[in-house]
Symmetry: C2
Subunit: 409 residues, 2 copies
């Protein structure tokens, strides 16, 4: 039997039925590039959202959390990628509300049915004249194949746009899930419900209630965005919003076989988008998976994986293609995971690096060859229990320093 | 009344009476630079030690911990800066023991009176022939003004040697405290008693018992080395050893006024050495103090200070001289410290940056001028309680990436 879950060529948030989107230039970016995206469902859609756990949560994040708690459905999402509207106090919150109200007015829907996101420079008030003109232009630009333009319009330091879609075959009945994401720096999300500078928007034409959507989104985030790190800096604006408009006519109930399949499809799509973010990490040249097994429990496995994935010394060694595994050992050792060093094994892909806490004897040349690829995995076996965790990370390069020492949106 | 504590010009571990030292070339470094140091007390000395809390503790660290638990005094310290002797298993431990035995034999003392430290490449067995020849040469080279040579011989990626000494005037009776330290990368020590790739050796000619030395060293480490971070990577080899040989004839008892003054002098010396390490951090061009007050408690103040000090985005912005304070706000927000963003104030030196969670309105040019100096302080006032903590850090530069992507000892 063939896999009921299939990725769609050129998939996006407009792949599912009944969704329109666009990307336009509101003039917020000095570069003149597209900086505003709108996503719209022809009918009110059930929804769920996950947001940053950073205490300096941006104004749009604060507003979206209210929506998740109070709104039964949403119908539109408005995003700008020129200004984060973070650390802007009460005026920032009022500007987020005005933006939603403008979207609601032009689309003929309720303001409570509009979600808003921002990304870009922190601490600067929005230019509301440009926002208002942009909203009017965006509403006119919505179209049923606008997903790609929308994915381009939410980029900041991203070098490639990131969108995808999957179709799910449920005994002959077809539904779709589409998504787009952005983010290349300030990436170490720990999104919680209803709390997640990465932005991610997912659409589906399945009919699913808000409670089940929230559960599925929570699991999806845990297996994808919360397992990536580029620079270990969590953002004020991380947001992930899932909309389900039911236009496929296929209803999915909690506990059903369909729900399990949908969850699987959603998970694969989100993982695809999350890994695409790490590949496009600021200055990154390599994608590294850090896979820890044998920790005393999952929490310690996660600590060990994050310590290696965020180590500046490991990240620079990966950039240099230097097998210098002592840096991996040191990071495991200070991670907070408990183990005996004499029991630890480490592999670069399938090549043994550390055996029982010591040099495994694999020639440096062989190890360097494993690290020469664009992608490799570091397996850490602590042999202290059953705890496992994996995380995706990237290398630390001259270009990262350049982007962040010289970048001001 | 003049300050009873005075820094000494050209001070070092041989400033206190009865200490000899040397730095020689044992041939462990490919560069041919000095790579072995020895410190020797004419008489058995009381001592205390603090070592890394990394679970991949190096062989010499494991051996030194035994000494702290079992030996009543020590008389010599042997250090090599070419090979960390970490992740070397049982042979590594045996080599550390052999090194101590060789030092003991040539100096005519007990092996239990010898401490050993190593720094350099991890995971490679020591070349014991070179070690043995080095030990013989070092013993012959010991001299009463060898402190400077010793400080140079323990350097790895350090660009300057770091040693200093203070004299303490106790009602006309004079004692001295001398110290040397090394370390520029893999620096984020959390040294615990008797657990600390920074190395630090401190000598004094005061007479102080081991229990009081341990208490004073613990307080000293907490106020100095445990408050610095260069790259947030804790090492397998961090060690800090304090020797007190009593040659001044001045005895210091627990609870006395003299003990308080000695503790103050020791603290100033250790802070001087710790800050010197950050100034010489790999690739660093700036020394930044992150000073947090108003946290709910000290633990949360420390979390907030460490989050800012270790943020790759903050560190690159400092390198670029970019006032981008949104990165400071984000780091405070994800640190784990609890506060209300509307109450947070941040200053760069005396210039307000954030007032009540929003832009304080100071012109960017003014802020950039504060960051143009080689040293500045970021004050973060959370206004949530009485918890305070400060930490010293440095910027993240192209040179850091170069050193660590291309460096293999």
């Amino acid at each position: 039997m063939s896999d009921p879950i299939q990725f769609v060529e050129n998939g996006s948030v407009t792949t599912p039925s009944g969704f329109k989107a666009c990307g336009i230039t509101a003039g917020l970016k000095a570069s003149g590039k597209a900086d505003m995206a709108m996503v719209y469902s022809d009918v009110p859609a059930n929804f769920a959202g996950a947001f940053t756990s950073c205490l300096f949560a941006a104004a749009p994040v604060q507003l979206c959390r209210q929506r998740v708690l109070k709104s039964k459905f949403i119908q539109a999402i408005i995003v700008n990628s020129g200004n984060a509207n973070a650390c802007t106090g009460k005026p920032g919150l009022e500007n987020a509300e005005k933006t939603c109200a403008a979207v609601a007015a032009v689309l003929g829907i309720s303001p409570e049915a509009v979600m808003v996101s921002s990304t870009g420079r922190i601490g600067v008030n929005l230019n509301m004249e440009k926002i208002m003109n942009g909203v009017a232009l965006a509403a006119k630009s919505l179209c049923s194949d606008g997903g790609l333009d929308a994915a381009k319009a939410i980029m900041t330091t991203d070098t490639v746009h990131k969108c995808a879609a999957v179709t799910l075959n449920l005994n002959g009945r077809k539904i779709s899930i589409g998504g787009m994401t952005k983010g290349a720096g300030m990436i170490s999300p720990k999104m919680v419900l209803p709390h997640a500078t990465m932005l991610c928007y997912i659409t589906t034409d399945a009919q699913i209630d808000n409670a089940l959507l929230a559960e599925m989104l929570g699991n999806g985030v845990d297996g994808s965005f919360n397992r990536i790190t580029i620079d270990n800096d969590m953002s004020t604006n991380d947001s992930c919003i899932l909309m389900a408009n039911g236009k496929s006519g296929v209803s999915i109930a909690a506990g059903s076989e369909e729900a399990a399949l949908f969850s699987e499809a959603l998970g694969r799509l989100m993982q695809h988008l999350a890994v695409a973010m790490v590949r496009d990490g600021e200055g990154a040249t390599k994608l590294i998976t850090v896979d820890v097994t044998g920790a005393r429990n999952r929490d310690e496995a996660e600590k060990a994986a994050r310590a290696v994935a965020n180590s500046m010394l490991c990240k620079t060694a990966w950039f240099g293609g230097d097998p210098n595994w002592g840096r991996v050992a040191a990071a495991l050792g200070y991670s907070g995971a408990m183990f005996e060093q004499e029991k630890v094994d480490v592999f670069y892909n399938d090549k043994p690096v550390i055996r029982q806490g010591k040099d495994a004897g694999t020639p440096e040349k062989t190890l360097a060859a494993e690290m020469a690829g664009k992608e490799f995995t570091i397996f850490c076996r602590l042999n202290a229990g059953d705890g496992a965790y994996h995380i995706w990370t990237c290398d630390l390069t001259y270009e990262y320093v350049k982007i962040n020492a010289e970048y001001t949106t």
